[in-house]
Amino acid sequence: MLLLKVLARLVELLLMAAIALIGLGVGLYCFSLLISLGSARPDRLLHLPVVRARVGHFLAQLAAPGPTATLAMLGGVAAVVVGLGLLAGVLGSRRERLLQVEDGVEGSGGLYARQRTISQMVRAETALALGVTAVKRPKVRLARSGRNGHVKVLAHRGADPDPGTVDSAVHDRVDPVLEPLGLRGEIRVRLEEPRAAKDAS
């Protein structure tokens, strides 16, 4: 994401410079209609007739079916992908998503935790629960205010012990983590598929 943002800023700068230059060219052209600018004709300065002579042939090939048209289509798709990446870089939020554990209104200062931190803590605690064989990375969703949210946990268990025992063991480990942080937990425990059954499916 950081790379996309840097790329987006660079492209933004280059585009702004290009637009400014085009604006200057158009401005000069408009002036040339009223005042003679001598040899300072924008179309001549930008060598537009030469560009047309070089690109015109390629444009004609583009219009007709063939390898050039395929190449152009691939180029178009790549441009769309790059454009979407740049949009993500420009519009993506730069702020970290933080859970506000203490707001610090009494003047002592606040306490905040990153979403990823909460996810890591919950995962580590779940993995230690009795009967848990694997844990998917918990999904943490915070409210817009950042003051509360909920955490989805998916744990896998073996055939022993029974589901109720494992569920209760996971709650015993995870609830003390979530409650002081003001988060709600949504814990699901599934029976782990045997490897042979997983390979067959």
Binding site: R94, G104, S108, G110, P180
Partner: protein, 112 residues
């Protein structure tokens, strides 16, 4: 506000370094984090203190912010310990940490 003598580090930088060392000495804190782009630092006079920001508070003293990497421990209790240690250390050094804001940036699953 105190002004540093010529060639001496500013009180802001002294406080940041003190806060950094104090926080690291608290049980449960593993490291300090410099944040996105490594910009969460206190810098001045060619020195950088990572993971700590000290800003002059409107009422005098400094608003201190830290980004911690800690072990799997209860966060509110850890924050309380860090805050108390920082305020005590600052006061001992003749500086005033007006507020101490803590962000838990990461946790590591390692034994104490």
């Amino acid at each position: 506000m105190e002004r540093p003598a010529h060639g001496e580090p500013s009180p802001r930088l002294v406080l940041a370094a003190l806060v950094h060392d104090t926080a690291l000495a608290v049980d449960g804190v593993v490291a300090l984090d410099t944040g996105p782009g490594g910009l969460f630092v206190t810098a001045g006079g060619g020195e950088r203190v990572p993971g700590v920001r000290c800003l002059a508070a409107p009422e005098g003293g400094y608003d201190v912010s830290l980004r911690l990497v800690c072990r799997l421990v209860p966060l509110p209790a850890l924050a309380e310990r860090v805050r108390a240690a920082v305020v005590t250390a600052a006061t001992s050094a003749g500086l005033n940490a007006e507020t101490v804001t803590i962000t838990v940036a990461d946790v590591v699953d390692e034994p104490a």
